[in-house]
């Protein structure tokens, strides 16, 4: 069965891999830059596509049909279903903007640069363990993870936080595929289920929040304190 697969020569594999990773990183960084929530959701969808493409490229290179299929599944979830759900939430609440983030955009981008350096430094042991083109892209995943966390810390709208969380999740998935072509299938399924459920929970809570607080500005959530 393997011989029927289309083989990807390394000369093509590495640029494709790098392209997907670059797109992944760029979309992640763009989330920090854009303020329009709708645009942020779009960027997230694009990142999902980049992630799916990456997995497919890996799968094709390793001639692993299962991996290609997983890649398509991931794409469907992260570029299709999740953005769809978010867009629905967005429509329900009326489009909004990230008006005044806790840390402003310019600083955020500079912080992101620092985070990228940190991710690069931290990822060295991971690369050293098996220096392949795929693992060399791990710092990108870690950068996006940290950026996602940063979005969570600094963005005031509920939806932005959801996107931040999903950025982290994308980054983790990417790390998984870059390092070992993914975790065992049962676990991968479970993880995807959980992410989906988490987003649904977020959506329900956003609805309730809107009902209770009249908006989704997380700064309003200050009633429980010491």
């Amino acid at each position: 069965m393997t011989e029927t697969m289309f083989t990807l020569p390394p000369s093509l594999y590495v640029p494709l891999l790098d392209l997907a990773c670059g797109a992944f990183l760029l979309t992640g960084m763009m989330v920090l830059w854009r303020r329009d929530l709708a645009a942020i959701v779009r960027l997230f969808a694009l990142q999902g596509i980049a992630l799916a493409a990456l997995i497919v490229v890996l799968g094709v290179y390793e001639q692993d049909v299962e991996l290609v299929a997983v890649g398509l599944g991931v794409g469907a979830l992260r570029a299709g279903l999740l953005p769809y759900l978010m867009r629905r939430a967005l429509i329900a609440g009326g489009a909004g903007r990230e008006v005044r983030p806790v840390v402003n955009v310019a600083t955020s981008l500079l912080v992101a640069a620092v985070l990228a350096m940190l991710a690069y430094a931290v990822a060295q042991p991971l690369i050293r363990l098996s220096p392949t083109p795929a693992t060399q892209a791990v710092p990108i995943a870690l950068t996006v993870l940290l950026v996602g966390f940063f979005v969570l810390v600094t963005r005031r709208r509920a939806l932005s936080q959801v996107v931040g969380f999903l950025l982290m999740d994308n980054a983790i998935t990417m790390t998984a595929f870059l390092t070992t072509s993914g975790v065992p299938l049962v676990v991968e399924l479970g993880i995807s289920m959980d992410v989906l459920l988490a987003v649904l929970v977020f959506q329900v809570l956003t609805t309730r929040m809107r009902a209770a607080f009249g908006g989704t500005d997380l700064d309003e959530l200050r009633e429980l304190h010491d």
Binding site: L118, A121, V122, L146, L221
Partner: protein
């Protein structure tokens, strides 16, 4: 299981049953059942302790109890002494409690916790491993805490006292825990036998000693860890006050002797200097506070600090002498200290119980409102007088004997003790003397103002004598005091067995009627003093009978300077009695007074009313504890900014922690 073991285990079992009775039986049965049970347990504990003092020892290993550690018990003569003391105090207090608890203290919690408290106090000296000791110690703390707050509905000071007590006792516990566990870790095992054989570095030994001394000193009410004592002991129900003040504080002394002298086999001079100086400061500070206190039970609480200070002077001196190689004097000093523990237990039980009777009869502990109880509560008055005599260390009281022994050991240390001793010993003697003198003044005040003269307040005028159970408990304690006062030679030989556990060697005090000391030619006979005094008084009485021809006493008015009959408001009060003393020591006590003058509306020069308030605050509390408390409050208020409710802030904690950890990982690869 031998005699000691049987008695001890039966005592514990009876305590458990009494607690059960206190918890489960109806109110009417509860008091006699729990009270008599506790009394029985006290009697059995005494018997076990005495048997152990006479040489029979017992040990047990119960691995099934206390998960992860097991319980190890052993009773040697030293433990036996403290068992016996606790037992007697419990016996007196429990009998008294049957009568005393009838008014509002017959609740389930009090009646169930009291026997457990006694059981815990019996367990502490019997513990023979670090874990067992700590569990017994904490059981003692928690049961006593429950009892201290028993009366919380009526006085807001009770809750405050409970809080102070709880925190300070926990502080002490942490210190003991750290010390003993470091010891056990160094010794490679936690049973006391293993600790005895341990060979530790001097630094670790010093740390262990210092940590445990801090913990034990806090239980003994030693300055500056005494702040809880004058709050908790007075606010507890009186039989509990007696148990705490006469039995529980002893455990602090027991701990220092057990750890410092027995387990660590003594140590360098500086250890014992710490103990001695702490003891000296406590003795002076305690009695000064007592001397100016107008609250009867608070006064007794401060006096406990004083007496524990005296005991620690003895223990510290014993350690010093041992460090200097003078085994005979060391044994004498320790004998004096332990005898003082016993004596203090006797008279403090009596005094607290009597003070409880007064509180029950009058509803107040304020000496400024008391007086005139001599006619209304004759037995209580007589019993309190016995206690006060003993507490003021005058012959023929019992504390005189132990202080005499203590002074002998200090005085005769001088020729052998080098420069440190030459500086320390005279000061120690001065401290003991001054505290003895102030103790006399204090108890003259307590007895003279509280019981004699005329009632100063309406409550005191309505007082009535206590029920028989209470009188019985007090009388028992008074009998113990008298025996100790007149025949200390009866218990000194067995006491030397306890001393030998900590400082091996022959007994320091011998004699059947008079006390002969090893190596010192001083000698005294308390019995003879009493007899001589009795003969002299009888002789004088006979003489006056013979000489004075007119026998019938005529009632006469008091000398009122011709100004009309005297009223209670003209009497000297406890505050006025202590005022000169307060003036003499005002540098130490720093009394505060506050005068409010309200002028008449029309003129600023005409006074309508003057309000005067005077207070002697605890200076150590003010200087040492209040700053700490206010810092903590400030920090606590400020710390609220950690939890402002902002989800961004909360996430940022994690973000910084993650990046920080990652940076660390990147730097230290």
């Amino acid at each position: 299981m031998n005699l000691v073991g049987t008695l001890f285990c039966t005592a514990l079992a009876i305590c458990a049953l009494s607690a059960l009775a206190g918890l489960a039986t109806p109110t009417r049965l509860r008091l006699p059942l729990a009270g008599l049970g506790t009394a029985g347990a006290g009697a059995l504990g005494t018997a076990a302790g005495l048997a152990a003092l006479l040489g029979e020892s017992w040990s047990a290993w119960l691995p099934e109890l206390l998960p992860l550690a097991g319980v190890r018990l052993a009773i040697d003569p030293l433990a036996g002494l403290f068992l016996a003391v606790t037992g007697v105090v419990a016996l007196c207090a429990a009998i008294y409690g049957i009568g005393y608890s009838r008014d509002g203290l017959d609740g389930r919690v009090v009646q169930a916790a009291a026997p457990l408290f006694v059981a815990a106090m019996l367990l502490v000296p019997a513990a023979a491993s670090v874990s067992t000791f700590l569990v017994a110690w904490e059981l003692m703390a928690i049961t006593s805490l429950l009892l201290v707050v028993a009366d919380h509905r009526h006085r807001s000071a009770v809750g405050e006292a409970g809080l102070w007590y709880g925190v300070m006792t926990h502080l002490g516990f942490v210190a003991i825990l750290a010390g003993l566990l470091a010891f056990a870790a160094g010794a490679g095992g936690e049973s006391f036998d293993q600790l005895r054989q341990a060979e530790l570095s001097p630094a670790l030994r010093g740390t262990v000693f210092l940590a445990t001394v801090v913990g034990f000193a806090s239980k003994a009410g030693i300055v500056p860890l005494h702040v809880w004592l004058p709050r908790a002991h007075p606010e507890a129900p009186s039989q509990i006050s007696a148990l705490m003040s006469a039995a529980m504080v002893n455990m602090g002394v027991y701990g220092i002797v057990r750890v410092g002298l027995d387990l660590l086999h003594g140590g360098p001079v500086w250890w014992w200097m710490v103990v001695l100086i702490a003891g000296a400061i406590s003795a002076l500070y305690g009695i000064l506070q007592a001397a100016v206190s107008a609250d009867l039970k608070r006064l007794l609480g401060h006096s406990t600090t004083e007496n524990m200070g005296l005991v620690l002077i003895g223990v510290g001196a014993a350690g010093l002498f041992a460090a200097w190689g003078n085994a005979v004097l060391a044994a004498l000093a320790l004998t004096a200290a332990l005898l003082h523990v016993v004596n203090h237990a006797g008279f403090k039980t009596l005094l607290f119980l009597a003070a409880g009777s007064v509180q029950r009869a009058t509803g107040t502990r304020d000496l400024d409102q008391l007086g005139g109880l001599r006619t209304r509560m004759p037995y209580t008055t007589g019993l309190f007088a016995v206690g006060a005599l003993c507490a003021s260390a005058l012959p023929p009281g019992n504390a005189f004997v132990s202080e005499w022994l203590l002074l002998q050991s200090l005085i005769h240390a001088l020729p052998t003790s080098g420069v440190v001793g030459a500086v320390t010993m005279p000061l120690a003697v001065g401290v003991i003397a001054l505290s003895a003198g102030l103790a006399v003044a204090t108890f003259v005040k307590a007895f003279g103002i509280g019981f004699l003269a005329k009632p100063r307040g309406p409550e005191a005028a309505r007082a009535a004598e206590s029920p028989p159970a209470m009188l019985g408990g007090m009388a028992l304690a008074a009998c113990c005091c008298l025996v100790l006062a007149l025949a200390p030679t009866a218990i000194l030989p067995v006491l030397s067995h306890a001393v030998a556990v900590a400082l091996p060697g022959p007994g320091a005090v011998t004699g059947e009627v008079s006390l002969h000391l090893a190596g010192i030619s001083s000698v005294i006979s308390p019995l003879l003093i009493a007899v001589a005094l009795g003969v002299a008084v009888a002789g004088t009485l006979a003489l006056t009978r013979v000489v004075a021809t007119r026998r019938v006493r005529r009632a006469a008015r008091l000398w009122d300077c011709g100004g009309g009959p005297m009223s209670a408001r003209m009497e000297y009060t406890a505050t006025s009695f202590a005022e000169p003393l307060q003036r003499v020591f005002d540098n130490v006590l720093a009394p505060e007074s506050d005068v409010d003058v309200t002028p008449v509306k029309e003129s600023a020069y005409l006074v309508e009313s003057v309000r005067f308030r005077a207070k002697v605050p605890d200076r150590i509390e003010r200087r040492l504890y209040e700053p700490v408390l206010s810092v903590l409050t400030f920090v606590g208020r400020g710390a609220r900014h950690l939890a402002t409710g902002s989800v961004h802030r909360y996430l940022a904690y994690g973000f910084w922690a993650l990046t920080g950890a990652l940076i660390m990982l990147a730097v230290f690869q």
